[in-house]
């Protein structure tokens, strides 16, 4: 596993903590910073934050799990979100999803590939029903996807990965 705590990253978190004077009101801004720096909230960093803010780790964990904006799972380098809202579902989002999962090598129950390159999720509605079925990869939206089309998009990405 690659290091999760380059000091420069830990420092960015320390800065936010210092800004609030090690005050408990810093918790949410600090968590936002952690999320931004690491793309998720690693347990070790949350324990560190708890120590620094004089909160119990359980309280920090509680806040971290309450807000949907925070993720406690490590995400891959590329995040693929497949819309499974009504419109997309009807127009075949499930085969698209299955094709993506197969392509990147995810087995049942897994969301992120072992090499941390891809995370595949479903979302309830992307608000792009006109493009159904829609897939968002790293903030770029791809409309009217089919298993074949999405496979080509992923091929491109995987080339970059190598």
């Amino acid at each position: 596993m690659p290091p999760i705590g380059e000091t420069s990253e830990l420092e960015r978190i320390n800065q936010v903590i210092a800004e609030y004077g090690n005050n408990q009101s810093a918790l949410i801004p600090v968590l936002q910073q952690v999320q931004e720096v690491y793309h998720y909230l690693p347990e070790e960093i949350l324990t560190y934050v708890a120590t620094a803010l004089n909160l119990s780790p359980a309280t920090v964990y509680g806040v971290a799990t309450f807000y949907a904006q925070f993720s406690l799972e490590a995400k891959g380098k590329h995040v693929v979100r497949v819309c499974d809202g009504t419109a997309c579902h009807v127009r075949g989002s499930t085969p698209v999803l299955n094709a993506i999962r197969k392509k990147v090598g995810l087995t049942a129950g897994m969301k992120t590939t072992g090499d941390r390159q891809f995370t595949v999720e479903t979302v309830s509605c992307l608000g792009a029903c006109g493009l159904a079925p829609a897939v968002v990869i790293d903030d770029r939206i791809y409309g009217q996807m089919t298993p074949e089309a999405v496979s080509i998009v992923l091929d491109e990405l995987m080339k970059e990965v190598d």
């Binding site: 596993m1 690659p2 290091p3 999760i4 705590g5 380059e6 000091t7 420069s8 830990l10 420092e11 320390n14 690693p42 347990e43 070790e44 960093i45 949350l46 324990t47 560190y48 708890a50 120590t51 620094a52 909160l55 119990s56 780790p57 359980a58 309280t59 920090v60 964990y61 509680g62 799990t65 309450f66």
Partner: protein, 685 residues
């Protein structure tokens, strides 16, 4: 003038169900309603915790048709409320039904059956059907703790445990996580409770209204030992048990029922029944000897008491730098176990493994203490099993014994003879008072006339007194609950307070308020039990530990002098810091070289963090980068290197470097270079 007087004298009132009720400074409407003799149901209200307002049971209806949660509103003069209007009743019932829908309703197999608030209310409100679906997914039980069992399937999310652990114990081990339908009460990161900083005090279980948090039952092991003919089963009864066990059998709260308990234990089949208060007398002699040695030398003061295992674990986790201030004395429970297995077995001419020592304790943390590795010899535990007062009451019921009607029986000898000093260990202030009763004598050889040190008594959270001990002005502090000691420690560390001796008990009221005791753990009940303990003390023929002839006998025969080498072997112990969180910490750099690498860990745990270790870590990273050896170094931030007394600390290839500050990264870098040279030299050789 007179008009003014009149209004001042006339108490404010409000109207409850058409009857006027006085308001006398109650902190909320609910307290006034209860004072008026109406038992409004509650799950999430506990008079010693903050109001939460979630369970919707304490509802009342106002004159103008508003529905209020009475726990969360002040009692305003002139208010007119109804406590069981049809609307209130209906809402209350639906709320109850919703709670039941999410609750594992297998009451017959639940430990709390019969003392469960949820069950009680369902009965009171005649809930004969639950219209909402059942929770289909079962969550796993958490059996990791030696003290308590968590069954999340029975949790109604009232948050009582969360607030108890946070507000009273200052720990916050449990909290709400997730939201909506997947909300749970859990330790951090969904871990097992034994893998976090829980100190096993059990107070969360004592307030849980359902069977979601219960005391771990070990009754089966006790029966097995009793029916094992090869074992001599020896029981010790803790001081606080005698004023609480009667509660489980409908006796008056605070009534001393030691004699009945002894009789019941004999009927159950226990071979020898002794009193932990005897061992407490022994503790007084050792702990006072230790204290006057410290007082004479002036070193390592304050001395903290160490008989509460929840406090000991708490100190190991949060004050690892002050562990040498803890009395090295084992607790009375463990002193008893040690004396029984080391010496009493010789007297009986049996092998220690054929003696089975059971403690009857008010406490769940004692289960953890008895299992600590330092209290075993060759795999034989000094105390084989700890049963709480609740569990022993359960066994007595199981055996069909009519406890209330029993004739009193007396304890066995030699460990059944105790003084008042050993008995008051059961209540907050008792250990300090017992030490004060002995200190003058041990210092000068002269006995004081004074026996009762009432200045250290009472149920206030933290109490302080200055007591003259043979010319020394001794500053004594007594605290109970861990939240109180946390606050006091802060003052001591800042130099705002100074004490010579500090008694710490984790449970409210001391052991009488232990989580293993039967009954609702309220301040009223604790007051009754405290009175019972002091009553027991005054009834004793002897009230000072140094007067106990059988304690003297133990010294003469086996231990020698107070504080002797033999006494240290048998009756003392040592402590070590505990890392608060498991895990490797945060990996900062990982050397990519194929060859040998130097492992460097910078502590960012509380003590080191406060000394600026994160700044040092940042500087160190830069230094390593610049050195050109980054590929040969693994660097991580650790949560505790267990060197808190010498913080800030860094570990380089297993070697601890302490006493560092924010600016000392260069020192560490030198060590890293030295370690690298070492490695190279080894490879070349």
């Amino acid at each position: 003038m007179s008009a003014n007087n009149n209004t001042a004298v006339q108490a404010a009132t409000l109207t409850i169900n058409g009857r006027p009720v006085e308001i006398n400074g109650e902190k909320n409407l609910l307290e006034v309603v209860r004072k008026a003799g109406i038992d409004l149901p509650t799950f999430c209200y506990h008079s010693e915790l903050s109001a939460f307002g979630a369970c919707r049971q304490c509802l009342v209806e106002t004159e103008d048709g508003r529905i209020l949660a009475s726990c969360s509103v002040p009692a305003d003069p002139g208010m007119k409320i109804k406590t069981h209007s049809p609307r209130v009743q209906r809402i209350r019932k639906v709320a109850l039904e919703l709670l039941l829908a999410n609750h594992d309703r297998e009451c017959t197999t639940c430990e709390k059956s019969g003392v469960c608030k949820l069950q009680d209310l369902a009965q009171r409100y005649g809930i004969d059907e639950v219209r909402f679906g059942k929770r289909d997914q079962k969550m796993p039980l958490d059996l990791s703790s030696p003290a308590i069992v968590r069954n999340p399937n029975r949790c109604i999310l009232c948050g009582d445990c969360v607030r108890m652990c946070k507000e009273v114990q200052g720990l916050g081990i449990l909290d709400f996580a997730n939201r909506g339908a997947s909300m749970v009460v859990t330790p951090a990161f969904g871990r097992d409770i034994a893998d976090v900083e829980c100190v096993n005090c059990g107070q969360c279980a004592a307030v849980c209204p359902t069977g979601a948090l219960t005391v771990k039952s070990e009754i089966d092991q006790a029966w097995a030992a009793i029916y094992d003919d090869s074992k001599t089963v020896v029981v010790q009864i803790a001081p606080a048990v005698r004023v609480a066990v009667g509660d489980a059998f409908g006796l008056k709260p605070g009534e001393i029922s030691l004699g009945k308990l002894v009789a019941a234990l004999r009927m159950i089949g226990i071979d020898k029944v002794f009193d932990t208060s005897f061992a407490a007398d022994l503790t007084v002699m050792e702990e006072t000897t230790e204290f006057i040695n410290r007082l004479r030398s002036g070193a390592q003061l304050p001395q903290f008491t160490s008989c509460c295992p929840a406090w000991v674990k708490y100190a190991e986790q949060y004050y690892p730098d002050m562990l040498s201030n803890l009395s090295s004395c084992r607790s009375p429970q463990q002193m008893f176990g040690s004396v029984a297995k080391r010496y009493y077995t010789k007297e009986l001419n049996i092998d220690p493994k054929d003696m089975y020592v059971i403690s009857v304790m008010p406490c769940t943390a004692k289960k953890f203490e008895a299992a600590r590795p330092e209290f075993s010899n060759d795999g034989v535990r000094d105390v084989d099993l700890v049963l709480t007062t609740q569990e022993i009451a359960h066994m007595i019921k199981e055996a069909g014994i009519n406890f209330a009607e029993l004739e009193e029986d007396s304890l066995d000898m030699p460990f059944g003879f105790t003084t008042g000093a050993g008995v008051i260990f059961g209540v907050t202030g008792g250990v300090a008072e017992a030490v004060l009763r002995a200190a003058n004598f041990l210092l000068t050889g002269e006995e004081l006339q004074k026996v009762a040190f009432t200045e250290v008594r009472g149920l206030a959270g933290t109490r302080a007194a200055t007591v003259d001990v043979a010319g020394h002005e001794v500053r004594v502090a007594i605290t109970h609950t861990l939240g109180e000691i946390k606050a006091l420690m802060e003052k001591i560390r800042k130099g705002e307070e100074y004490f010579d001796i500090i008694e710490v008990m984790a449970c409210p009221g001391g052991c009488i308020g232990g989580a293993g005791q039967p009954g609702q753990n309220t301040i009223e009940l604790r007051t009754k039990r405290s009175e019972g303990i002091y009553r027991a003390d005054t009834r004793m023929q002897l009230r000072k530990a140094q007067e106990n002839p059988l304690v003297q006998h133990v010294y003469d025969k086996w231990l020698g002098q107070y504080g002797s080498h033999e006494a240290h072997e048998a009756l003392h112990t040592q402590y070590s810091g505990r890392s608060r969180m498991p895990g490797e910490g945060i990996s900062i750099m990982q050397g990519q070289s194929q060859g040998e690498k130097v492992d460097v860990a910078v502590c960012v745990g509380t003590c080191c963090f406060l000394k600026g270790s994160t700044q040092m870590l940042a500087d160190l990273t830069e230094l390593i980068d610049q050195s050109g050896y980054a590929d040969q170094v693994n660097l991580r931030a650790a949560f505790c290197l267990e060197n808190c007394a010498g913080s800030a600390s860094v570990k380089v290839d297993g070697k601890i470097i302490g006493g560092l500050t924010a600016k000392k990264s260069a020192v560490v870098m030198q060590e890293i270079m030295a370690a690298l040279r070492n490695k190279k030299a080894k490879v070349e050789a």
